[in-house]
Symmetry: C2
Subunit: 200 residues, 2 copies
């Protein structure tokens, strides 16, 4: 590659990577287990990638783990512009995809053209939730939030008045990626109900 | 797999994943670009995985990107026990590997036996820095810290009295994974010197 073209490419890639640093300041409703402060999107993205490589064996069908991880690493960067939409806020969820698609245009558009297309395609694949990899990516995304809620005595659920029925309804798609993980996490959630950490 | 064995396996995997949540409370010397608070290891681990998938094309030799990402996701979890060792603290670095190896025994030991071995092998591979994937993993690990320092006007370098010569000496192994990225980041660091953000 001619030197100028290479420099331009690197400059675009670094601009994208620096922009993504903002994800560390987008906060979710989930609480971290130790500090009990709200989790940010960067921490969450790392956690679910670790969930994916650790739990991939439980996928309903064989999956390309790198493809799952690629999606998970970038699935939330749109929230730099669009903000985090709480999973149980049905009003905010109405225009969520439109807000996030505009953010995807801007943020992935910082990359060199070929990578902008490739990263956008990964994000679209995640959003569409049709491929086995996208389904498993959603599985770990939801699973990790449920597990954090259980491990913090349901404090975030309680703050927002979330009930057991809402948790089950919201998270049933976990089974599309892994019926094993859905069965297992339901057991943990049932225990949270018995312990008084989640309202019925 | 019999149900009891599967439940035991899941219980071990979830214990490991929950333990790793502590990584969000291990803080590094690098400052995030927006809040200017110190970066934690979980955020850092996400960032360098994103660096790896975005910049893999610049590796000196073709690499297995999933292998790189697997190493990066877990390379810092030993710091849950051992703490972060500042890259320019040569005294603390002396017994760093021993402290971290003990942590690796404990933390990866939470996993089912086969995965404990596999994760430990990945961590050992990262530490040994011999394979092409381990070299590239170290490349993005150091590159991201340098870039954050440059993007925050060298505040962390200044706090610790780090000089240009120390930065170059410490980070030369970036070239083992990618001479292209080493050349590029040196240009950015040279600009930081010219701008008065890094002492000579």
């Amino acid at each position: 590659m001619p030197t100028t073209a290479l420099t331009d490419r690197l400059t675009a890639q670094f601009a994208f990577l620096l922009e993504c640093d903002r994800l560390k300041d987008v906060f979710r409703q989930s609480l971290n287990t130790q500090s009990r402060r709200r989790e940010n999107d960067a921490e969450h993205s790392w956690a679910i990638c670790l969930f994916a490589v650790t739990l991939a064996e439980h996928s309903n069908v064989p999956i390309d783990v790198l493809r799952v991880v690629r999606m998970l690493l970038i699935h939330d960067v749109v929230e730099i512009d669009a903000g985090d939409t709480f999973a149980y806020d049905t009003a905010a969820m109405r225009d969520q995809h439109e807000r996030e698609a505009r953010a995807a245009d801007r943020i992935f558009g910082l990359l060199p053209a070929d990578q902008a297309l490739a990263f956008r395609a990964m994000w679209d694949e995640f959003e569409a939730r049709e491929t086995a990899e996208a389904k498993f990516a959603h599985t770990v995304d939801r699973l990790q939030a449920m597990l954090l809620n259980c491990a913090t005595q349901g404090e975030s659920w309680r703050r927002h008045g979330v009930t057991h029925a809402a948790v089950v309804a919201r998270n049933t798609p976990i089974a599309d990626g892994s019926s094993t993980l859905w069965t297992y996490i339901r057991g943990i959630v049932d225990a949270a109900v018995r312990d008084g950490h989640l309202a019925t």
